[in-house]
């Protein structure tokens, strides 16, 4: 009865084309009303509590950072700089998306912010250049997932706080898997575009080493911006949210002096970032009501407890946990899912002998998959919003399937070779 209501409610409401946030919220309210003795009043508290969050405020601030860069002509310069580097590589600027997402992951701490900020810069530029739209949004949605894996990461911060695991070790553990996944993404793009050159316009002109290096002088302010954001966190100067705020101030100063940012463009950037945040935020609002309705019934815990009681081996349980995360990832945003399930998953997996740091990395990758799984894949949603519905949620989801599979492959590799995640923290701490 519960599952019929959940799945049937979601399909029936979302199928009408109404706002997905409202569809999720309405299903959540129905579940609260029917299965929790009419406890629908919990929905408003849940919404208010989720959005009264200092950590979450990094999301609109990083969206604003991207909008400022977009309107100040930086995107033109970034692509001018990266063009020679990837000119003769099949896939061209699609590789740039992954490279910039990797770099931006080192500034943003959030998968959503990475997809939003890099996407707002890259999508208009690449569609203008004639790249296949599905390939562009796929690379951005997939590349955006690197934001949670490469430090600073909101996922690691919350995981560390909830499980009393060293956040410094978690940050260090995310670096190698993050770079590894990024490399796999680029390898996939290389193969795909070599087989079908129509996906990405190819420039056959030759670029000398000097030209490549000279191109990067155009983007030194972006590199300075990344250094400022990362430096402020590593130097203990600011939290990720604070460094996001400082990043915006730094971006305004830089692009006013060096770019084309005017006061009007700045106002425009702020206005659009507010609308974009609201578009994504409304989805989070609906997901929060649904998450509340399901978590109050203890559904995730019941599922995981059944798994724990079955007497399976460690890796079988891990596989089931991953599958459950993948299933629940269809309905919940990543951080909500992690917060809801950690009280059961963490003791379960550590009890089976898995390293807490390693578990943090694997869970982060799995919830990243949830970020690109419809209907509640927030990376997909942010990109759909960024393209102004030019590319539908379904199309973005299909375009992101290869990145989804690469993440699963990364989990397999991490399971076979846990040292990939544990090497750096063991070396540094």
């Amino acid at each position: 009865m519960f599952w019929t209501t959940l799945i049937g409610g979601l399909v029936a409401t979302a199928g009408t084309g109404m706002a997905l946030g409202a569809a999720l919220g309405l299903t959540g309210l129905v579940i609260l009303h029917v299965f929790s003795n009419g406890a629908t009043s919990l929905a408003v508290d849940a919404i208010w509590n989720v959005f009264n969050s200092f950590t979450l405020s990094a999301v609109p601030v990083f969206i604003l950072l991207g909008e400022i860069l977009l309107r100040s002509g930086v995107s033109e310069r970034a692509y001018t700089a990266f063009s020679p580097l990837f000119r003769r590589v099949p896939g061209g600027l699609l590789h740039t998306n992954i490279a910039v997402c990797t770099l931006f992951g080192a500034v943003s701490g959030s998968s959503l912010s990475t997809a939003a900020a890099v996407g707002s810069v890259a999508y208009p530029e690449m569609t203008k250049r004639g790249y296949n739209k599905d390939m562009v949004v796929g690379s951005l949605a997939g590349g955006g997932t690197l934001g949670l894996l490469i430090p600073p990461s909101l996922s690691f911060l919350i995981y560390g706080a909830l499980t009393e695991t060293s956040i410094g070790r978690l940050f260090a553990a995310g670096i190698v898997p993050g770079l590894m996944v990024g490399s796999f993404f680029m390898a996939y793009l290389l193969v795909r575009c070599a087989r079908d050159p129509s996906l990405a316009p190819r420039d056959e002109s030759h670029a000398s080493l000097f030209e490549i290096i000279a191109g990067f002088r155009h983007i030194w302010p972006i590199l300075a911006l990344i250094a400022a954001v990362i430096g402020s966190i590593i130097g203990g100067l600011a939290t990720p949210t604070e460094s996001a705020g400082l990043g915006v101030i730094f971006a305004i100063l830089l692009t006013s002096i060096w770019g084309d940012l005017t006061f009007r463009k700045l106002l425009d950037a702020i206005y659009h970032s507010a609308l974009l945040f609201a578009s994504v935020g409304f989805l989070v609002l609906g997901a929060t009501i649904l998450a509340k309705s399901v978590s109050i019934l203890g559904v995730p815990q019941q599922i995981l407890e059944t798994v724990a009681e079955s007497g399976l081996g460690a890796y079988s349980v891990l596989l089931i946990v991953v599958l459950i995360y993948l299933l629940l990832g269809c309905f919940f945003d990543g951080l909500s899912l992690m917060i809801m399930t950690l009280p059961v998953v963490f003791p379960l997996l550590t009890g089976l002998g898995f390293d807490p740091i390693w578990i943090g990395v694997v869970i982060t990758i799995v919830i990243e998959i949830g970020q690109v799984t419809p209907p509640v894949g927030l990376n997909l949603s942010v990109l759909t919003a960024l393209t102004n519905n030019e590319v539908s949620l379904g199309r973005v989801a299909i375009a992101t399937v290869p990145y989804w599979l690469i993440h699963l492959f990364a989990i397999v590799l991490l399971s076979l070779f846990p040292i990939l995640a544990l090497f750096l923290p063991n070396l540094l701490f």
Partner: protein
């Protein structure tokens, strides 16, 4: 007469949604300013203790204030698989059903918000650290939800046509306040 009344209602709704969106934008700008000031003040040895609470409140109200505008411009994230496949009467039926369900959602939420707001108002609830009164911030939720419902209702009865999806006017663009 009825046509001019409909025109007036549509103009008022557009104006209110635009005003709310501007206020939401100011909220985002304020978040950046407060966070940056907070970092500087901390370095100067006089940390701002109110930062986290005020930023959290600004985040909530910024989201809510921009909600009517994204509803007006149909910029919500939605699953369009069925809608794209449908046509004619079926498309119209789905659209009407979608708007009705959205109205039910916002209406239901509104029913829950009223006692929630009254509770905070009657007790003059304040934030823990900065002792800011909560109800003025909380009042944004019912106000923006009523406005969002009014926009949906106006669209349902045909007063307010759905604006073009490819139109992406900005802060400096006047199209929000024009027909």
């Amino acid at each position: 007469m009825a046509r001019s009344f409909g025109f007036l209602v549509a103009q008022v709704l557009r104006g209110l949604a635009f005003a709310c969106a501007i206020a939401g934008s100011l909220g985002i700008a304020a978040i950046v300013c407060i966070i940056s000031t907070s970092v500087v003040m901390r370095k100067l040895g006089t940390p701002l203790h109110v930062t986290e609470e005020v930023v959290g409140l600004l985040l909530s109200v910024s989201l809510l204030l921009a909600l009517p505008m994204i509803t007006l411009r149909a910029q919500h994230v939605r699953v369009a698989l069925l809608v794209n496949a449908a046509g004619g009467v079926w498309l119209r039926a789905l659209t009407v059903l979608g708007m009705l369900l959205s109205l039910i959602f916002f209406g239901w939420l509104m029913l829950e918000i009223i006692p929630w707001f009254e509770f905070a108002y009657d007790r003059n609830l304040k934030t823990q650290t900065s002792r800011l009164l909560l109800y003025p911030w909380m009042a944004v939720m019912p106000v923006t939800i009523v406005l969002t419902m009014a926009i949906l209702l106006a669209r349902l009865v045909g007063i307010l046509p759905e604006e073009k999806e490819d139109a992406r006017p900005g802060f400096t663009d006047q199209s929000e306040t024009m027909t």
